[in-house]
Amino acid sequence: MTEHTKPVSRYTTAARINHWITAVSLILLALSGMALFHPSLYFLTYLFGGGQITRAIHPWIGVVLGISFLGLFIRFFALNFWNRDDTIWMKNLGAVINNKEEGLPELGKYNAGQKLVFWGQSILILLLLGSGFVLWDTYFASYTTIDQKRWSAVIHALCAIGAILIWIVHVYAAIWVKGTLRAMTQGSVTGGWAWKHHRKWFRQEVGKP
């Protein structure tokens, strides 16, 4: 396809690096966490050098993710507040899924689905960090009761599954909606992509609201 406009800048280099540090941490956390969650997946501990090392390294990767995600949160939270158009978009989710989004309101930088991914991961990562510290016996065993640790184990596992499910939606959306991935690899999208999916944002970018 021919591009008729200059590429539209969507993410700065710093934002992209921030995103990919978060992405790699989240994948490593999911692999090491699943290894310790389900015996059938215990073999994943070999990726990290065995059970002891997996157990020791998982919380440290969590710390990296926590700091990295905080960076993403600060960058993007202002763009993710819910508005009336998001409610309309969600009511027409069926049309979106059927690739028929033409009649929907023009969107800013993020659509309602992206905003839900953002807030969902923000809340779940906060809960995962909190419960994770309670489970980090090496340093924090003496600060909580055993019953608090049991609650944390359940909350940690539930939130982790939630975060993995949101991650699947996030990755699939990037595969499904063509032209999206280059925003996070090259930092820009085509004018057509911006016009089709985020027209209000595109208008701002080209200075013609």
Binding site: L36, S40, G51, A141, K149, Y172
Partner: protein, 306 residues
């Protein structure tokens, strides 16, 4: 501990395939019976445990009671817990030898994520296999009695083995061997229950109307049992649980949550795949690019392709 060839497994942690039948008769269930009414608190059992298992308990600090050390540690797998029980004009000194109860339904084993780090032999003994232990502390969360301790130096969990290495060669546990008042018995579980029955009759004849056996049903019975003077109130004995059972939280975490979580992830993956196959990708068309150029007011088609 090493798994001894002579001890067959009944349960193995984090293993979907149950241990193979040994092809020989299952070992007789064993039990240790601790008669609290006969204990004089001499701590010979603690010493014998340290000696037999070659453990080194560093000298610590007293908390003003006779409890020494004040809690179970990675080296002290058994500790005498002293309670002064006052009722009316009476003062009773209740001395309970604390340590692993060797639950018939072990919560530690249920919670353990490392295959084979916790095993239960056919004789009922629950053993930690250090070689497979990853030091995660899940056993601590699974245990209804607060027994396992994680070493800060080796990152492994430790607790009483019921001297599985002695039992396998027909010896009683070191603590039972050392006890000068024979407050610790060891034998088949059946024999121990029968013996406890006689002791309870004796205690009742001496005015302990509520004397009884502590063999809690909530964990399907234990392979370490107590004869208590006040079996109606086990918590008198330094917080021995009145009705121990594996926490329902552990039940959810280690039960329904595991298959449901994997199913949810598989479903999400399958949904995405099917969506792509049936609905296809969402693509930007030439028309979209033209409209974009129209809006931006700069059609650069053909001059500079990105």
């Amino acid at each position: 501990m090493s798994v001894l060839q002579a001890l067959d497994l009944r349960r193995r942690s984090a293993s979907s395939v149950p241990p193979l039948p040994a092809g020989k008769p299952a070992a007789v269930a064993v039990a240790k019976l601790i008669d609290v009414s006969k204990c004089i608190g001499c701590k010979a059992c603690q010493t014998a445990c340290l000696e037999w298992n070659q453990l080194d308990q560093p000298i610590g600090y007293t908390d003003g009671s006779y409890d020494n050390p004040t809690d179970l540690t990675t080296a002290s797998w058994t500790v005498m817990r002293f309670t002064e029980y006052e009722h009316g004009d009476d003062l009773e000194w209740l001395i309970r030898k604390d340590g692993c109860m060797h639950c018939d339904d072990p919560g530690c084993l249920k919670a353990c994520p490392a295959p084979g780090a916790i095993v239960q032999y056919t004789n009922g003994i629950v053993d930690f296999i250090s070689d497979n232990c990853i030091g995660c502390g899940y056993c601590v969360k699974g245990c209804p009695f607060n027994i396992p301790r994680i070493s800060q130096t080796t990152s492994k969990a430790y607790k009483c083995t019921l001297c599985s290495d002695r039992v396998v060669v027909g010896q009683a546990p070191a603590c039972a061997k050392a006890c000068p008042t024979q407050a610790i018995y060891f034998g088949t579980k059946e024999e121990m229950i029968a013996h406890a029955g006689k002791r309870i009759v004796d205690l009742k004849s001496r005015g302990y109307q509520n004397a009884g056996l502590y063999n809690p049903a909530g964990v399907n019975g234990t392979h370490v049992m107590y004869v208590l003077q006040h079996a109606d109130k086990p918590s008198l004995y330094a917080g021995l649980p009145d009705d121990p059972h594996i926490s329902p939280l552990v039940g959810i975490w280690k039960g329904v949550m595991k298959p449901l979580s994997l199913a949810a992830i598989a479903f999400a993956g399958a949904f995405g795949f099917l969506h792509y196959v049936t609905k296809g990708p969402n693509t930007v068309t030439e028309h979209d690019e033209e409209k974009a150029a129209e809006l931006a007011g700069t059609d650069r088609a053909g001059s500079d392709k990105a």
